[in-house]
């Protein structure tokens, strides 16, 4: 009940004309970056952060959150229209979405995806409203040992981001922790790995790193092959048939549940809920053989799960200060740039901002569904621009975005260097997502570890003797063991196949 009262106050903030305008602009810009192949939500959100510099903190976060879920929806547009996922989570939508587009049913697929995204996003946001205060009450009792153990849980879940080798995912995660060590030591104030460069005193900034790894890296991969115009299918009616609506509502509800519960677990990534949703729909279908040939259920379920996940992934950020995905890590960076620390204290010290942003998630989801259908011809027009021109413009905005963060060419250099690294990581099949997540977790984890050891006089048993900390470490161990068993099982099954 208390939460609902706070939410009403949040609506008063979110519905202020300026904040409403920021949500609309964010949704449009987010969808635009989402439809551009090569610019997923991480790089897109990072690239657009400078646009929020002159906006008050509440408006800035509202706009960035709108960019985030706008980009998630934009990714599905390209999956359906051109068979190119704007971001990894939309890849599964290509299977049936593009097949529907080839049958002239693109409008139906897009409409169902938009409505499904709205339903999934709205219900997940309601979950955030219900869980926000109870979870923050618990989190406020945490001391440094509990926070450290919680970070270890987050780190253990990073293994879920491993698309192939667990070792390579862990290598990426530890590399992220290592580059987070650059800069002034958070406890003693001593410079570390700065090599006398004043620009490194504040450490490497997350935004140019994410833009490089995900934006520039992807553009370099795409630049390997000459690509012409992206869009070459036709678009007819945008109204779904009655049969499509009947076939979609149950997958939408199931997708909401799947996306929401997986979004609560930090580090799992947006690909997992969409995959699970697709597999679930296929298993429950009376005609599983028709999946991949234009089944609306194959669009409705995963697209809903995608947006439910996107909104639910904000719950660990708001309540515990743990980013659940690389894009949420970038949003966390934006919070910090605005002087706000996500986590339990956010609701105590900046309740107006926290509840304003939560209410804006509802408003933004509604704006997204209202705006997107009429805007589809505009997005199609953008996709008709030759890809080489599109990515030249994207590169220009990346330079602009990186420079305007601190007014420093150093950040443009960092972005370029990490762009090369992102390209190499893709080539070597090493996931970049764990690197970005641990880069955010690293300083928090180190501070919590060192404060804990200072409290205990260097005795590491403090992590095992405090109940919450011990329970968190047990959960982390369980996740790690499960991941290792999964890897062992997959290796064994490959051996059998060989």
């Amino acid at each position: 009940m208390e939460s609902l009262q706070f939410l009403m106050g949040g609506f008063a903030t979110a519905l202020q004309p300026t904040n409403l305008l920021f949500a609309v602009i964010g949704c449009v810009l987010g969808t635009l970056v989402g439809i551009l192949p090569g610019i997923g939500p991480v790089a897109g959100t990072a690239m657009l952060i400078p646009l929020t510099f002159t906006i008050p903190p509440t408006g800035a976060i509202i706009m960035l959150a709108a960019i985030y879920y706008g980009a998630m929806y934009g990714g599905s547009l390209t999956s359906i229209l051109v068979n190119v996922p704007g971001e990894a989570a939309s890849a599964i939508t290509c299977l049936d979405g593009y097949a529907m587009a080839k049958q002239g049913r693109a409008g139906s697929a897009l409409a169902v995806a938009a409505v499904g995204s709205f339903v999934g996003g709205s219900i997940a946001t309601f979950g955030l409203v219900l869980l926000a205060l109870p979870l923050t009450e618990i989190a406020l009792r945490f001391g440094p040992p509990e926070f450290f153990s919680l970070m270890v849980v987050g780190l253990s879940l990073v293994t879920g981001l491993a698309s192939g080798s667990l070792v390579r995912a862990l290598l990426s995660a530890v590399f992220g922790l290592l580059i987070a060590m650059v800069g002034i030591d958070p406890v003693m104030g001593a410079p570390r790995f700065t090599f006398g460069w004043p620009e490194l005193q504040d450490g490497l900034q997350l935004v140019p790193v994410a833009m490089g790894l995900f934006g520039i890296g992807e553009i370099l991969i795409n630049a390997e092959r000459a690509t012409g115009q992206v869009f070459n299918t036709t678009l007819r009616s945008l109204v779904p048939s009655a049969q499509d609506v009947r076939d979609s509502w149950l997958p939408v509800l199931r997708g909401t549940g799947i996306g929401f519960f997986i979004g609560l677990i930090p580090g799992v990534g947006a690909v997992v809920p969409t995959m699970i949703s697709y597999v679930t729909e296929k298993r429950l279908s009376r005609t599983p053989e028709r999946f991949g040939h234009g089944m609306i259920q194959g669009v409705a379920g995963p697209e809903t799960a995608n947006n439910a996940y996107a909104n639910a992934a904000l719950i660990p950020l708001f309540t515990l200060g743990i980013p659940g995905s690389p894009t949420v890590a970038v949003i966390m960076g934006a919070f910090m740039m605005n002087g706000l620390i996500p986590g339990p204290l956010l609701f105590r010290e900046h309740a107006d901002v926290a509840w304003g942003v939560i209410a804006s998630l509802y408003v933004g989801n509604l704006v997204l569904v209202i705006l997107n259908l009429p805007f589809i011809p505009l997005w199609v027009a953008v996709l008709r621009v030759p890809y080489a021109i599109l990515y030249t413009v994207i590169l220009g905005f990346c330079v602009l975005g990186a420079y305007s963060l601190n007014g420093s060419v150093f950040d443009v250099g960092v972005m370029t260097a990490f762009g090369v690294l992102g390209y190499l990581l893709r080539k070597l099949d090493i996931p970049a997502a764990p690197l970005v997540l641990t880069m955010v977790l690293g300083p928090l984890m180190e501070r919590a570890l060192r404060q804990s050891l200072e409290i205990s006089g260097g005795d590491a048993s403090i992590f095992f003797t405090r109940p919450i900390s011990a329970a968190a470490l047990a959960i982390a161990a369980a996740f790690a063991v499960t991941s290792l068993l999964q890897v062992a099982r997959s290796v064994k099954s490959q051996d059998v196949q060989v």
């Binding site: 003693m188 220009g396 250099g413 972005m415």
Partner: protein
């Protein structure tokens, strides 16, 4: 892919050794508790161990099929070199030349190198991306972008 992973793992081991040596040069422990070198030291140990596992897997494990197209074509590498050259050029020129001229050169170079959409489109995109964007950022968003020695 095997060779690529072996080289990567070896470079990671060298990197771990470098980080470890720098961490040891800092204080690992202080009277108050762990020092500035404590966390980097243990991270470098874990990083090195993981790299060693990767090297072992790549050397004695089953050969792994990498992503398709590990190596690009010559034309592909030329496009990548053009993009990286443009980015490095932007880093070097943005302060002395200013945002507008650097962006103009950036767009003209990349558009003529990568796509050649015709002079009218090239000029329109380049002018909008440089002078147009500067106008929006400086006058509407009030974000300061560098002005070069020519005053633009």
């Amino acid at each position: 892919m095997r060779r690529a992973h072996q080289v990567t793992a070896t470079l990671c081991i060298v990197f771990a050794a470098f980080v470890m040596s720098r961490a040891l040069a800092m204080k690992l422990h202080t009277p108050l508790g762990p020092g500035p070198g404590y966390f980097p030291f243990w991270l470098s140990v874990v990083f090195g161990a993981l790299a060693l596992v990767m090297l072992t897997q790549a050397t004695i494990g089953r050969p792994e099929a990498g992503p398709t197209g590990l190596l690009a074509t010559r034309a592909g590498y030329r496009r990548i070199a053009a993009i990286l050259g443009a980015l490095v050029g932007a880093v070097v020129l943005i302060n002395p030349l200013g945002f507008r001229l650097t962006s103009l050169a950036f767009y003209l170079f990349l558009l003529t190198t990568l796509s050649r959409p015709g002079w009218v489109v090239t000029l329109l995109v380049a002018v909008a991306g440089s002078f147009g964007v500067y106008h929006v950022f400086a006058n509407f968003l009030r974000i300061t972008l560098p002005v070069g020695f020519l005053g633009i």
